[in-house]
Assembly symmetry: C2
């Protein structure tokens, strides 16, 4: 009787009894109904009912975090707790969209709580039978870029939108000649009239292929193919035919089944962009933690996954970014490794702290303005970031390393002050 189970850990907040609230969630998301119905036998409940495995009380707060919760008559305390619930595999089978409907479906709506966030899931390894995971992951990305022993260093084509294919190709050539490992489209840039993907890929890949012929090393260009599925297949084929080595997808807006379908078809690494993610996680007791989120995408087979970066320009604290990188480095089903993409306001200065706190250089390190707006131009911006990672790896303070490295010195001068 060791039927596999799926575990889901939540942070909840409630003015009612935590035990009761946990039971309501378990019931609502399995065999429960709001009134007892004839078919709801004891035998059925034994087979199908989700089970509250553990409850750990945390702090209380004096105001409800979300509106619409039922409040006891005299309650001025809202208890927070971590709750783990176990779902029988037979409730959904190997079907991730329905797992999602189960562990992050209608439970956010319940008036029994004033906050509910999915912190983590433990998906049984039998799912590996259906979900193949990343095709390339860390190792495949390193092989394709020929970058070993340090982060893959990249940039985003900026401005995000507005450049013509010709301008984009020219920019990529400049970056490629400077020795960059990786370039990506912005998530806003897919296949718009002013820069049709086919034309852009043709012109950019011509530059990349020329350069590769010269250097023997091919710059990885993550082409944003986010679109309807037929178009994504067409875009993928276009990238592949042009000798491209990566496609990028806006995960939340293409969606789980769409990316999963692409994975089946895809012959290139999938660069997963999580834009819109703030909606899922910025509130402390609503939505989903990245720890849970990244497991679904790794199962589906995303090779790279954005994690924001230390000292980023967004709301997210460093602790959360570090937690995300660490979560991605935890093996899943014996592997399923995907490469964290460190991005947002990065300019090299964060290299030592990123390495110190995460212990890894198995990262794609993406700097936008940090490279493009270097006083001596993009090539110098790139060299400055390479120097910063070299200093971090050598354990030499950036300021010291900068004494012999002009590009890093200028970068520190320009961006070091803004923090």
């Amino acid at each position: 009787m060791s039927e596999p189970v799926l575990l889901a850990k939540y942070l909840i907040e409630t003015a009612q009894s935590v035990e009761r609230t946990a039971e309501v969630i378990a019931g609502e998301q399995s065999s429960g109904t709001f009134v007892a119905v004839p078919g709801e036998t004891e035998e059925l409940k034994r087979r199908s009912r989700a089970r509250v495995v553990s409850i750990e009380a945390l702090e209380t707060v004096s105001q409800p975090s979300l509106p619409g919760s039922r409040i006891g008559d005299h309650s001025t305390e809202f208890q927070r707790a971590e709750v783990t619930i176990e779902f029988p595999l037979q409730n959904f089978g190997l079907n991730l969209p329905t797992v999602l409907a189960t562990v992050c479906g209608n439970l956010f709506e319940l008036s029994d709580h004033s906050g509910c966030k999915l912190l983590d899931v433990e998906i049984p390894s039998v799912f590996a039978e259906r979900y193949p995971g990343p095709q390339f992951g860390v190792r495949g990305t390193r092989e394709l870029t020929a970058v070993f022993g340090r982060p893959v260093i990249g940039t985003i084509v900026k401005p995000s939108v507005g450049l013509t294919p010709e301008q984009t190709a020219e920019l990529v050539r400049t970056l490629g000649e400077a020795g960059i490992d990786f370039v990506k489209d912005d998530e806003l840039m897919a296949d718009p009239p002013h820069s049709p993907l086919k034309k852009r890929v043709e012109l950019v890949m011509r530059e990349i292929n020329r350069l590769a012929d010269r250097t023997g090393r091919k710059l990885m260009y993550a082409v944003n193919i986010s679109d309807e599925l037929d178009a994504m297949r067409r875009h993928h084929d276009c990238v592949l035919a042009a000798g491209g080595t990566c496609v990028m997808v806006s995960l939340n807006h293409v969606g789980f089944a769409g990316v999963s379908q692409l994975r089946q078809y895809c012959q290139l690494p999938i660069h997963g962009h999580r834009n819109g993610w703030g909606m899922w996680t910025r509130h402390p007791v609503l939505g989903m933690e990245f720890t849970a989120y990244q497991k679904f995408w790794r199962a589906i087979g995303v090779d790279h996954l954005h994690v924001n970066g230390l000292q980023n320009k967004f709301w997210e604290p460093d602790d959360s970014v570090v937690r995300s990188i660490k979560a991605m480095r935890e093996p899943m089903w014996g592997g399923y490794e995907s490469m964290p993409v460190v991005s947002s306001g990065q300019w090299g200065g964060q290299a030592p702290e990123t390495l110190r706190r995460t212990g890894t250089q198995d990262l794609i390190y993406v700097a936008g303005g940090g490279i493009m707006a270097h006083p001596l131009g993009p090539a110098a911006g790139l060299r400055a970031i390479q120097q910063a990672w070299q200093a971090a790896a050598d354990g030499v303070p950036l300021e010291k390393f900068a004494m012999q490295h002009e590009e890093l010195r200028l970068t520190l001068e320009k961006f070091g002050q803004t923090k």
Copy 2:
């Protein structure tokens, strides 16, 4: 120069200047970078930059709604405002996943605000060239169910999970014999080992077809086909071959491109379930309003869309439910009508208020326990709901109507007290 534009309206909250914050959002989601870069010419900005169209200041609050916002040194006021931003169509073309990356992408992450919610979008009608909209909508659903002049009345198979295909078929037969118009699977029930979809559809449709042969009217069964895309196609074909007339999908977990792909293939109405929606909207200044959400799904072509119900068991206030139903009844691109699905804790008692506040009976009215747990059984539960809608349409108070209608009387007795 009347290039079509897309308008997005936001509720924002910020401790900084509202004007500046609106400009940051417009910049970040179009041609902006966090530092000026060489390619960012005036000409490019003129073509590509999103434009702040209007700002309407609302109330201030004394605490930030979300963590991580930048706060001026002495600020204790957080201004809320409605902001409308105009995006040039040429930034994305007819590509809804990229429209989503634009209007609800990385902007939730910005530290310039302490709250941001997408309230509404106005998508130019040129999108109709690519997005076909609902195949069946209200009219097609009424024709398939042969229900006119009143809501399509339905129920959810409960318990949500755990019943065998045989038990499900038996239950549907009972409901069908009682005259129900519509039955749906729960969002938790898709194709699990204990109730394989193929077997369930075969047994349930046998009952439905037999009954239809007798009565000349076919009960619509929304089969939850949520799964990976290949499986969804297979499930769809199975439903179609068995004479079924509806498929159901968990929209948020299959995702935009997945449902859009299904729509291309599908020969049946798509019943759109929004489970997980609480995560998107429960917080007052984070995420998305249903008014915006439903437009994307109508464009893609969902025929039915869940809107919760008045006096529901969830957190959502009635005003919000009414707003959702009204939003769905606003014509889009000259039509694109989709049928609101009223559900959650419904038992008939909400019929008069639902009709009064929304002015429509073009609804699928779904009651779970309200039908199944009627003291005289499901058939009586169904008749009670039919009686409640009849009373509402006739403008007769339920209590008065119940004097001559035993089933309604018993329903009022059982469920009328719990509210």
